[in-house]
C-alpha cells in the first residue's frame, strides 16, 4: 500500500511542478482592472456550458495527472522538446514571389514618389508608404549587388484557408532573374465568391 501512496504522492508532485512551470512560462493573463472591466461589460457573458466545462475539465485534468503521471510527464517533455526544436515549415506553407508574379522593374525614386500617402488630418507620416515606411526601409537594406526592385502581384493559395491576394515589391537578382525578399503593400484574403 505504501507503494501506491508513494505513486500518488509523486503524481501530485508532478501536478504541482507542471502547474508551476506553466504559470512561470505564461504571462499573467488577468489584471484586476481588466477583470472588473470585462465582468462589468454587458457584452461579457459566460455561457453555462463554458462554466460547466471549466468546473469539470480542470479537476479531471488534475486527477488524470496524479493518477497517470508518468504518461503526463512524458507528454509534457515531448511538448517542451518540440517547442525548442520546431519542425521547419514546408515550402508550400510560406509564400514566396515567383517570376510569373513580377510586373515591372522600378527605381527606388519611382516607387517612393508613387507610394506617398496623403491624409488631410495628418494622421500618417509624410513618408513613402506612410506607417509602413520602417518596413520598407528594412526591405531596402536587404538589397544586395545586382538586385533590382520589381513590383509583383499574386493570388496565393496556402494549404489551409482561402486564397490571399498579395501585392508589393520584390528584390530580383538581375543575373539569375530570381526573386528573393519581398515587401507587401496588400495582403487580402479573398473568399470563393470574390475570386
Amino acid at each position: 500500500m505504501i507503494y501506491f501512496y508513494s505513486y500518488l504522492a509523486l503524481g501530485f508532485l508532478t501536478l504541482v511542478i507542471l502547474y508551476t512551470t506553466h504559470r512561470i512560462r505564461e504571462p499573467r493573463k488577468h489584471s484586476s482592472t481588466l477583470k472588473a472591466l470585462f465582468h462589468s461589460s454587458p457584452r461579457h457573458r459566460i455561457e453555462w456550458k463554458e462554466r460547466l466545462l471549466e468546473s469539470i475539465v480542470i479537476p479531471l485534468t488534475a486527477l488524470f495527472v496524479v493518477v497517470v503521471w508518468p504518461y503526463a510527464l512524458y507528454k509534457y517533455l515531448v511538448i517542451l522538446y518540440m517547442n525548442f526544436n520546431p519542425r521547419p515549415k514546408s515550402s508550400d506553407e510560406e509564400f514566396s514571389v515567383d517570376v510569373a508574379h513580377l510586373i515591372e522593374e522600378l527605381s527606388i525614386n519611382e516607387i517612393e514618389s508613387r507610394e506617398r500617402v496623403y491624409d488631410p488630418l495628418g494622421s500618417v507620416p509624410d513618408l513613402p508608404f506612410g506607417h509602413l515606411n520602417s518596413t520598407w526601409n528594412t526591405f531596402l537594406h536587404k538589397a544586395e549587388a545586382y538586385d533590382a526592385i520589381w513590383s509583383f502581384e499574386a493570388h496565393w493559395k496556402p494549404r489551409w484557408g482561402s486564397t490571399v491576394h498579395k501585392v508589393g515589391y520584390a528584390l530580383v537578382n538581375q543575373k539569375k532573374h530570381q526573386p528573393g525578399a519581398f515587401f507587401l503593400t496588400l495582403n487580402n484574403e479573398t473568399w470563393p465568391s470574390e475570386s
Binding site: P27, R28, L34, V117, L121, S123, V124, P125, T135, T185
Partner: protein, 175 residues
C-alpha cells in the same frame, strides 16, 4: 472556437460592432505583432480597436488591450496607439487596409459560437481601398439575395417595429 469580441466603429453618428480586424492586416504587412496578453477566451487577438470614419476615411482612434512587459512573466501594461504607431497617440489613418468591413445590425437571427459567426438581420458592408471608403451596401439577411436599402429606411423599419411592439404592450396593460 469561442465567439470573439468585435471591434468598435463610430460611423454616421452611430456606434457599431465591427466584425473585421483591419489592424491584423497591418501586423501581417509589417511582420511584427505586439505581444498582446490574451485576457479572455473571447478575445484571442488580445485587444479591441476603436475606429471612426471621417470624410470617407478609416481611422484608428484607440486600442484596449494589455501588452506583456517582457521583463517578468507576471507583468503587463495597457497598450496605447503610440506603442504601435510612434508619434501618433490620438489618430491613425488606416491606409494599409483594403477589404470589406462588416457591421452587423438589427436583431440576431442565429447564434454561432465561432468567431463572428452569428448572423443578424442586416449587415452594413463597407468597401475600403487603401483606407478610403469606396462603397457601402446593406445586406438583409432574411432574404436570399442582396438588396440595396438606405440606412435611414432600415432604421425607420426597426424603430416602427419597436413602436408597434410598445403600443401592443400598452394596449395589453389597459385590458
Amino acid at each position: 472556437m469561442t465567439d470573439q469580441f468585435p471591434e468598435r466603429l463610430h460611423y454616421q453618428n452611430r456606434e457599431y460592432s465591427m466584425c473585421t480586424n483591419p489592424l491584423e492586416d497591418y501586423f501581417e504587412l509589417t511582420g511584427i505583432r505586439p505581444k498582446f496578453v490574451e485576457t479572455s477566451s473571447a478575445l484571442w487577438r488580445g485587444y479591441e480597436g476603436k475606429w471612426v470614419i471621417i470624410h470617407d476615411r478609416l481611422y484608428l482612434i484607440g486600442i484596449d488591450g494589455c501588452l506583456s512587459n517582457g521583463t517578468s512573466a507576471f507583468s503587463s501594461r495597457f497598450a496605447t496607439l503610440e506603442d504601435i504607431f510612434p508619434g501618433f497617440p490620438k489618430r491613425v489613418f488606416a491606409h494599409w487596409y483594403t477589404g470589406t468591413i462588416r457591421l452587423p445590425y438589427g436583431n440576431r437571427l442565429d447564434y454561432d459560437h465561432g468567431e463572428y459567426g452569428s448572423s443578424f438581420e442586416y449587415d452594413l458592408m463597407i468597401e475600403v481601398s487603401k483606407g478610403v471608403i469606396t462603397s457601402t451596401t446593406i445586406r438583409e439577411n432574411t432574404v436570399p439575395e442582396k438588396t440595396s436599402f438606405s440606412l435611414e429606411k432600415i432604421i425607420e423599419r426597426i424603430e416602427s417595429k419597436e413602436a408597434l411592439k410598445a403600443q401592443e404592450t400598452q394596449g395589453d396593460l389597459f385590458l
